[in-house]
């Protein structure tokens, strides 16, 4: 996922959002600007209430943005258009199936709207997910319900998957089953997946690029390896009154007596040299986990908006 469109054309992009804004009474999505290249897996990470679901609903044409343009698979997205949705599989944790009907009934219903519905694959998924087509939705557990919905999406063979917190509230086994199936889907290079979560561990295994979102704004967006490469933590001993020099991307994470913990979002080999001052001893330069990078990004964004 890229915040800049990087000169990519509409045909190379699976998703494109340009300056998209949406205002509600107590929440604003502000100038969302990002794209996802075809055949990639992108993660949209943000705390609860950050705007992930709203962003994804705008992408599906379920919510009309106040400003900006949205396109998916080269087609403009709006509630008035249905053509683009033929190739998009959308899952939301808020989505529900019809309680009195069976999984088989839902399969028939969805199949009637999708000429590309794959019966063989649907049967395989039923077995892999441990579902029975006669099972009535009302009696399904949360995990079974999520699996049934993903089955209905995967069996259409969509070119773009938009998955809004699919593993939310699942037990580790169900989560593993779903992520394993998602890995199979990822093997098809022509598929694009946009996956949102508030949990960095969920997306660690399956995405190429990550965008962090908080309070309705994109706060950081990069390739996973770039994130891990550029973000470092430095622990150093320095007098209590020591203040860090002005270095781009530096944030003081914590201070306990003379132990200072700093994080850098633009780490380079020159950074430790810039910290060398009389009385300053660098104890360690450590890599940061994705979760630590995410939390630090959110805190930086919030501090920035307060100052």
């Amino acid at each position: 996922m890229t915040t800049e469109l990087d000169g990519l054309t509409g045909t190379e992009l699976a998703v494109s959002m340009i300056d998209v804004s949406k205002s509600y009474k107590h929440f604003k999505l502000r100038n969302i600007h990002f794209s996802v290249e075809r055949g990639t897996v992108a993660g949209l990470i943000g705390p609860n209430g950050a705007g992930k679901s709203t962003t994804m609903r705008i992408l599906m044409g379920l919510v009309q943005p106040d400003t900006g343009t949205v396109s998916a698979l080269g087609k403009t997205i709006s509630s008035r258009e249905a053509a683009a949705k033929q190739d998009i599989g959308y899952f939301s944790d808020d989505m529900r199936l019809y309680k009195p009907e069976s999984i088989g009934w839902h399969m028939q219903f969805v199949r009637s709207l999708y000429p590309r519905w794959d019966d063989t694959y649907a049967t395989q998924l039923l077995k892999r997910f441990g579902l029975i087509d006669e099972q009535v939705v009302k009696g399904l557990s949360h995990g079974q319900r999520v699996k049934a919905m993903l089955l209905l999406i995967f069996a259409r063979r969509p070119k773009l998957l938009i998955l809004d917190e699919p593993t939310n509230g699942l037990d580790p086994v169900a989560k593993h089953e779903i992520l394993t199936e998602l890995m199979r889907v990822v093997e098809d290079d022509s598929r694009t997946i946009l996956y949102s979560s508030h949990n960095t561990q969920d997306v660690e295994q399956i995405r190429d690029s990550i965008t962090f979102i908080d309070r309705g704004q994109v706060i950081a967006s990069s390739n996973r390896d770039e994130f891990l490469e550029k973000w470092k933590r430095i622990k150093l001993h320095a007098p209590e009154e020591w203040s860090a020099p002005v270095v781009e991307g530096l944030r003081l994470e914590s201070r306990h007596r003379n132990l200072h913990v700093l994080s850098f979002s633009q780490f380079s080999d020159q950074v430790p040299a810039r910290l060398h001052e009389p009385g300053v001893v660098i104890e360690a330069v450590e890599p940061m986990t994705l979760e630590e990078i995410f939390v630090s990004s959110v805190m930086r964004g919030r501090e920035g908006s307060q100052s």
Binding site: L62, Q64, A82, K85, F91, S92, Y98, E101, S112, L113
Partner: protein, 222 residues
């Protein structure tokens, strides 16, 4: 507009409402049969039941087919499918109207036939005014459900409709021309009844257009 998608959605909702539809159809037929019994008390009870079935069917069908899609969060599932807002709106309003019109038409037709068979054609005009009022009240509930998506407001409109139905019955009862026609066995249309039916048809048409306009102009579907 995708006619195939509209047909699939329509049939889906018709299937989902099959139990209610059958129940209200059966209840309506039973109530209509009671009206036809040549016993004043049973006939009166039957007539009250006919009105009750028509009111209950309306609010129940609007609740299960329209409002429940929001509260049960099934609309998010439906709208994630390749369906446009126009397709969804046409199918939804059509199916709600159709499912209501099935028991409504059955009861109305049953009563009119019974009046002709029982040589009580004088009741046809008043019965028509009452049935079109019930349809009118249903349409107002439908437009309220579309605009507000609120069970509470829809129930308020239903209650208002019931109060107005009593006013209508009192007005018809107080009219001399209507009273004479009801007592006779001749099919006749008093002017006040024609005026009422005219207003009812106008309200039905305006409500239908309003419901459709509001539904198709919604910005956010979930």
């Amino acid at each position: 507009m995708n006619l195939q998608a509209i047909r699939i959605l329509f049939l889906k909702d018709l299937f989902l409402s099959r139990r209610q539809l059958f129940a209200y159809f059966a209840a309506g037929m039973a109530a209509s049969a009671l009206v036809c019994i040549p016993n004043t008390t049973l006939s009166f009870v039957g007539f009250i039941l006919v009105i009750t079935v028509a009111i209950a069917a309306g609010i129940h069908l609007i609740g299960t087919l329209m409002l429940a899609e929001t509260t049960d969060q099934t609309r998010l599932f439906v709208m994630s499918l390749p369906i446009s807002l126009l397709d969804y709106s046409i199918s939804k309003i059509s199916v709600v109207l159709t499912t209501y019109l099935i028991p409504w038409t059955a009861m109305f037709a049953c009563l009119v036939i019974a009046m002709f068979v029982g040589d009580k054609q004088g009741n046809v005009a008043v019965t028509s005014a009452i049935f079109f009022f019930l349809l009118c009240s249903f349409m107002l509930q439908l437009v309220t459900a579309v605009v507000s998506e609120s069970v509470g407001w829809t129930i308020c409109v239903m209650v208002g409709g019931n109060v107005c139905l009593n006013v209508l019955l009192m007005k018809l009862h107080a009219d001399e021309e209507v009273t004479e026609v009801v007592k006779s066995n001749v099919l006749s249309w008093p002017s006040i009844v024609l005026q009422i039916i005219g207003i009812e048809l106008l309200v039905i048409a305006v409500a239908l257009a309003t419901a459709f306009l509001f539904q198709t102009r919604k910005q956010d579907l979930v």
